[in-house]
């Protein structure tokens, strides 16, 4: 039988996207839609005392003005997590559709609904909002101090959550004579996802229900959140997700769908659309948590880790969104990546008056890897060991099993990945050659590894549902609740379906759009779970469908099921390999049979109670122009073990994208705020330094394929991992080049200027 999995087949949506025919949210919205524009707060913290809407309402074309004084009293959560029926595990419901208590510069206080965009924008400008201002706080540790501005009443010292890990006896173990203490503080920035399609949605009412079409990663979850926010039964909400122009975690939150749905209900169910501007996307959607990490390692001169302390302070911003899960995931990596017997780990998620931080590609791991992998090189520098030697000695060994997730490292992944990466970049030779350089232009190589675990079990529910329907010609449609967001899951799934059912790939049609009225339940695209989790429901549903097909084949051919098989769309008699009939003939006969007509379909839900580690590394080579305070990235290679590759070409492409994000994280991207007002300073694509075509060297992606035994397809996470280790590899390359251990990213010329000046490498 011809196998589809493992081949670099062309994306199933490639033609649609190469021709511009693929329809995204705004492409589907009727031009008659009313336009919703949001009035955002112009203070970082305070209360709205009043809003004078008179002038706005007088603007021709303005249909309705709604303010924070009009919204229903239904606090709701926004995180794209599966619902939990246990109230203790539910996400924090700290959101209102519009806010009287504004908690960041950009919070939503009112909307103007108008016949066209200009009238709506003019309406927003004409609103007169009066505030009672309160002190605000932007820094995560300042927000924890006594007397800091209280952002949410229920959370003293602004601490949304604190968790810890204790192992052995850190205090006692660190007393061992002869230990070397290595201590560092590492800061990571607030960054934004910058998918090229801004979030947008439109809503209307139909048959007493509200229909929302949205650029989201999580249609079924957003449907629930809209229900919660409007205080209506969830069945009264229908959510449709067409093609989306990227998400990267930002759209793994209910963004403006609840507000848009509510606006429709407030204008008699008319069609309304709410599209974010780029400026709004930066500030009033979600951002990546800026995390400050403090690490102390007590190390023997031979490189043995004796005791370690880890503290992470996660800047949650104004609302809980994904909350503590992000920094907790990062902390979870710490004891596993470099196992150590004596540990004290703590992490805090802390509200501040910044934009709400949510999910973003990597979910706490890029922050944890920047801190952790920078720290490893700092240890190496302190004890005089090479970064490679230290990692070989201390990284998670083969056979390591995590007690909580039951994840196991089955293969010698780390060494295999590092060997491959080293060879690609000629690491060892360069590392030695680049030591102890002098002169203004210096080169360096750096290495960093990452830890990532696939999906969310056992922290939350993992399930996926799949439906398959056979057509008269023997082709089939399938659909899942898991969403195509550019990563290519529609294609990978089609390949999986073809192999599992036993039909040619050309006979598999994916229903790309999710519509909660017809799409089986699934939680969406996040946690790099698509191929792993979707694989279970696809395999299970394919088995059910095959059983159905072979039973019908038995009826039609009188051969026992045990002697029948479906291969490449043909019903085969196993004993002699004869083709008895095609699946098309079988389906045609089955559907139109005057004796026993039946359409051929299968639908199952797979609940997944396993999980898988996905590991890899990055190697970077840089050239540092010391007088110009500039880093040029010369080479970068990522090596991943994501198990068996479903589609090597798409996997490689996905890695490139993650590497690009990591390059920006390491060198240029940071959303900045005015310390005096809390106002965002660079919330546009000119001032926010997303890498351009000219800021990259050739990106190299390589793989080590150790099949994941828990997955029916041997696969595991790849979506987020590529963004996890690039920044610390660059940082460590700069260390190799200059001897300068930089303790923050992005490593911009501003940072290098201060550092080089302090170290006397440059003088003015």
């Amino acid at each position: 039988m011809s196998k589809s999995v493992g081949k670099s087949v062309v994306r199933v949506d490639a033609y649609e996207k190469a021709t511009g025919r693929a329809k995204y949210t705004d492409d589907l919205c009727d031009r008659s839609a009313l336009v919703v524009k949001i009035c955002h707060s112009t203070i970082a913290h305070g209360f709205v005392k009043s809003i004078d809407t008179t002038q706005a309402e007088a603007i021709p074309g303005v249909v309705r003005v709604l303010t924070c004084f009009d919204v229903p009293d239904h606090p709701f959560p926004t995180a794209g997590h599966p619902w939990s029926t246990d109230p203790h595990h539910q996400d924090v419901a700290d959101r209102m559709l519009l806010n009287r208590h504004v908690r960041y510069y950009g919070d939503e206080v009112a909307v103007v609904i108008a016949e066209d965009e200009v009238a709506a924008v003019q309406g927003v400008r004409a609103l007169k909002v009066e505030y009672e201002e309160l002190p605000f706080v932007l820094d995560v540790q300042k927000a924890m101090e006594e007397g800091a501005p209280q952002i949410h009443e229920e959370y003293p010292q602004n601490i949304l959550a604190h968790t810890d890990i204790r192992r052995g006896d850190y205090a006692k173990a660190s007393q061992e004579p002869g230990l070397i203490k290595v201590e560092g503080w590492y800061d990571t920035p607030t960054v934004q996802h910058c998918h090229i399609e801004n979030h947008g949605c439109f809503a209307y009412m139909e048959a007493g229900r509200v229909v929302v079409v949205s650029s989201t990663q999580i249609p079924h979850i957003v449907r629930r959140v809209v229900g919660q926010a409007l205080g209506i039964p969830w069945g009264k909400v229908r959510l449709i997700k067409p093609y989306i122009g990227g998400g990267f975690g930002n759209k793994q939150d209910a963004l403006y769908e609840p507000l848009c749905a509510w606006c429709s209900t407030m204008v008699g169910g008319r069609l309304v659309k709410l599209e974010c501007t780029r400026e709004e996307t930066f500030v009033s959607n979600r951002v990546r948590h800026a995390i400050r990490t403090h690490i102390i390692s007590w190390v023997r001169p031979d490189g043995t880790l004796v005791a370690r302390k880890f503290e992470a302070f996660s800047n949650q911003g104004a609302y809980a969104s994904h909350g503590h899960g992000v920094v907790a995931k990062g902390m979870g990596a710490f004891p596993q990546l470099y196992p150590c017997d004596n540990l004290e780990c703590d992490c805090w998620s802390v509200f501040t008056n910044r934009p709400a931080a949510g999910a973003m590609r990597g979910y706490g791991i890029p922050q944890a890897m920047f801190a952790g992998e920078s720290h490893i090189d700092d240890i190496c520098k302190a004890i005089g060991m090479t970064p490679l030697e230290f990692r070989r000695k201390n990284l998670m060994p083969v056979g390591y099993t995590d007690g909580f997730s039951k994840n196991e490292l089955y293969s010698d992944t780390f060494n295999q990945c590092m060997d491959k990466g080293m060879a690609a970049i000629d690491y060892q030779r360069k590392f030695e050659a680049y030591r102890n350089q002098t002169g203004p232009i210096r080169r360096g190589v750096g290495l960093a590894v990452f830890w990532y675990n696939t999906a969310v079990w056992p922290i939350s529910l993992e399930s996926s549902s799949c439906r398959m329907v056979v057509n008269q010609d023997g082709s089939l449609q399938f659909q899942t609740g898991e969403t195509e967001i550019g990563q290519g899951c529609d294609t990978a799934y089609s390949q999986m379906v073809a192999d599992a059912v036993g039909v040619p790939l050309s006979d598999v049609h994916v229903v790309s759009t999710q519509d909660t009225d017809v799409t089986p339940y699934g939680t969406g695209a996040y946690a790099s779970r698509q191929t792993y989790i979707g694989g279970f429901s696809i395999m299970q549903t394919a088995i059910a469908l095959r059983e159905r097909i072979l039973n019908i084949a038995h009826e039609q051919t009188r051969m026992p099921v045990s002697n029948l098989d479906l291969v490449d769309g043909q019903i085969i008699r196993k004993s002699d390999g004869r083709v008895l009939k095609s699946l098309g003939d079988l389906a045609m006969e089955s559907l139109y049979s005057l004796e026993h007509s039946q359409h051929i379909t299968a639908e199952t839900t797979a609940q997944i109670k396993s999980n898988a580690y996905s590991f890899g590394c990055s190697f970077a080579e840089v050239e540092v122009d010391i007088p110009m305070c500039k880093v040029k990235l010369l080479n970068i290679v990522n090596v991943h073990d994501c198990g068996t590759l479903i589609n090597p070409a798409l996997a490689e492409a996905q890695v490139h994208g993650g590497m690009s994000m990591a390059i920006g994280y390491g060198l240029s991207e940071e959303l900045k705020f005015d310390e005096k007002t809390g106002k965002p300073l660079n919330n546009n694509l000119l001032d926010y330094k997303l890498s351009t075509f000219m800021d990259h060297p050739t990106l190299q992606a390589a793989f080590v394929e150790n099949a994941e035994p828990t997955s029916p397809y041997g696969t595991k996470a790849l979506g987020e991992p590529p963004a996890c280790s690039g920044a610390p590899a660059i940082r460590n390359a700069i260390l190799n080049a200059t001897g300068m251990a930089i303790d923050c990213c992005p490593i911009t010329p501003h940072v290098l200027y201060r550092k080089f000046k302090e170290a006397g490498l440059i003088t003015d």
Binding site: S8, A18, H195, I196, G657, S660, M661, L685, L690, T698
Partner: protein, 169 residues
């Protein structure tokens, strides 16, 4: 509030090889006109201030961000959008096919703009180095691909059109 009188103007231009005419609100951007009046939905909105390149179209053979181009300026111009590249039977042009073959497409939102800039590059008939191609393509932002496969697609098509083998890396 002063009542605003909407000012309209008739624009005549050539869109994807066909002469067209529309009366538009002078406040419209070219993006607005192409998307709303002609339903050329390959013209995407990513920032509306000329920073992302998603709305790129070719005007008299040169690439422009249609979001910061007044619709009325289209008068007398030849404008091409991605819709105009397709053959009569839905055949992809070589550059579109290269984007497909090289896995240069992920979410697809930046794709139309990139392809049109690639068309301008390819129609110059010149051979460019990688660095030159990077510069010529640098007016488009992409968050999915790291630009890598886009470069491959453009380069491969350039060499194919030049009738030259692609140099080894």
């Amino acid at each position: 509030m002063e009542k605003h009188v909407i000012q309209y103007e008739t624009v005549r231009f050539n869109l994807n090889g066909k002469d067209v005419e529309r009366t538009v609100d002078v406040r419209a951007s070219l993006t607005d006109m192409l998307r709303n009046d002609f339903r050329m939905t390959s013209v995407k909105k990513g920032c509306e201030v000329g920073e992302c390149g998603a709305c790129n179209v070719l005007i008299d053979g040169e690439a422009f961000n249609s979001c910061i181009y007044l619709a009325v300026w289209a008068n007398g111009k030849h404008i091409r959008t991605l819709e105009g590249l397709l053959g009569p039977n839905g055949e992809l042009s070589d550059i579109q096919q290269a984007f497909v073959d090289e896995a240069a497409i992920q979410c697809g939102f930046c794709t139309p703009g990139f392809i049109l800039t690639a068309v301008e590059i390819l129609e110059s008939g010149k051979e460019y180095t990688d660095d030159e191609l990077r510069k010529l393509l640098s007016g488009h932002l992409c968050r999915c691909t790291g630009y890598e496969n886009i470069l491959r697609a453009v380069k491969k098509t350039m060499y194919r059109r030049l009738g030259k083998p692609m140099p080894e890396q």
